[in-house]
């Protein structure tokens, strides 16, 4: 068995659930997330881009998932499941609160555009920098900042002001001079 097949099998067996959860954040659809992960893994290893370690391969597959999710959503290929995100009755204390919070978060994510959603996930889940996000999604840094700001505003509207910490914009001192008019 070659090295890349071992890495791929290990990735599929150990990290596939985490990748499906990651893809779910980007797509909002469970079936779409599973299909996306499967295609991303196969494509990554089929094109000779396989890495020697599982961690590198997972990072590469994550990038492929993010890009493919944006492309599919922008081209209207994602069919939303429109699941009724209703809270299920449970006897466990605190369960209702968690389910409600999860439903609110999914509803808030649904208000974002595909790129705003991808930028948000890459920023808050992967902890990538602005330049790294721009490199992954092939965007300019300024575009990434704009998407992040727009997404933060929408999320704050849905989840409250405490949910998203928007960094304050640096103030630039402006000196006014008298006009000659």
């Amino acid at each position: 068995m070659s090295a890349w097949t071992q890495v791929m099998e290990t990735l599929v067996r150990q990290r596939r659930p985490a990748l499906v959860g990651y893809a779910y954040l980007l797509t909002g659809s469970r079936s779409e997330a599973e299909d996306l992960v499967q295609e991303a893994i196969v494509r990554t290893f089929a094109r000779g881009r396989a890495k020697t370690s599982v961690r590198e391969a997972e990072a590469y597959v994550k990038r492929a998932i993010a890009n493919e999710a944006v492309n599919r959503a922008r081209h209207g290929l994602v069919v939303r499941e429109n699941q009724a995100k209703l809270a299920e009755p449970s006897s466990h204390p605190g369960h209702d609160a968690r389910v409600n919070a999860r439903a609110d978060l999914e509803a808030a994510l649904d208000t974002l555009s595909p790129r705003e959603r991808a930028v948000t996930v890459l920023k808050y889940v992967d902890d990538l920098t602005i330049s790294s996000i721009a490199a992954v999604l092939k965007l300019n840094d300024g575009t990434v900042k704009r998407y992040l700001a727009n997404a933060a505003v929408k999320l704050r509207e849905q989840l409250g002001d405490d949910a998203v910490n928007i960094p304050e914009r640096p103030t630039v001192p402006v000196t006014l001079t008298e006009s000659r008019i």
Binding site: V12, P17, Q38, I41, E106, V125, L159, V164
Partner: protein
């Protein structure tokens, strides 16, 4: 709880839910990746080999055709192509240079096309002209002048040959006409003799 923790909790919840019913199709996915890898490798390998072959074999031929093409195609040289000496055309040169044995080195390529004739001289001149980038400008200028002289001499020779051929054809036609007229005159005299036997007396 901030959005970062909420997103991670959501992802882990979905992942855990998926893990409960995760299909054991790792070997199946590996098989798909292996097939795709073969197709991808074949496609990329073919493209790489094709482009390399184009650069290696098609490049000199293309350069030769491009450098010598305008000089072989003038309106006055149509008779050159129809003559026996002009057996080498740009397309033939391109085909010859595509063969791996002849075009492994540019020098061999130029020598392989070297049969005596006007077209061949033109082609070799254009090919060597493309190699002048490595030499000095004086040498390249001398080569160009020599090649121009050769080309003009070849053209003059061909024109002289054509004129000689035309002259010979005209002479043959005149001789045939004279011979035909003599035969007609003899036939007329014979007919007259048959009609008037007294003329023989």
């Amino acid at each position: 709880m901030d959005v970062s923790m909420q997103l991670r909790d959501l992802a882990s919840a979905v992942g855990d839910d998926f893990a409960l019913n995760a299909p054991d199709d790792a070997s199946k996915l590996v098989g798909r990746a292996r097939r795709g890898r073969m197709v991808w490798t074949t496609g990329v390998g073919t493209a790489v080999v094709g482009s390399a072959a184009t650069l290696a074999f098609g490049g000199p031929a293309l350069a030769t055709v491009l450098t010598t093409g305008p000089e072989l195609a003038p309106a006055s040289s149509t008779s050159i192509l129809t003559s026996e000496s002009a057996t080498s055309t740009p397309s033939e040169d391109a085909l010859a240079s595509v063969s791996p044995t002849e075009s492994a080195e540019p020098g061999e390529n130029h020598e392989s096309t070297g049969t005596p004739g006007a077209g061949v001289i033109d082609l070799s001149g254009g090919a060597s002209g493309s190699d002048d980038d490595n030499g000095t400008s004086d040498e390249s200028g001398d080569r160009d002048r020599d090649q121009d002289q050769l080309r003009t001499e070849d053209r003059d020779q061909l024109q002289e040959q054509e004129q000689e051929q035309e002259h010979a054809q005209e002479q043959e036609q005149e001789q045939e006409l004279e011979h035909a007229q003599e035969q007609e005159q003899e036939q007329e005299q014979e007919q007259l003799r048959v009609e008037d036997p007294e003329l023989d007396d």
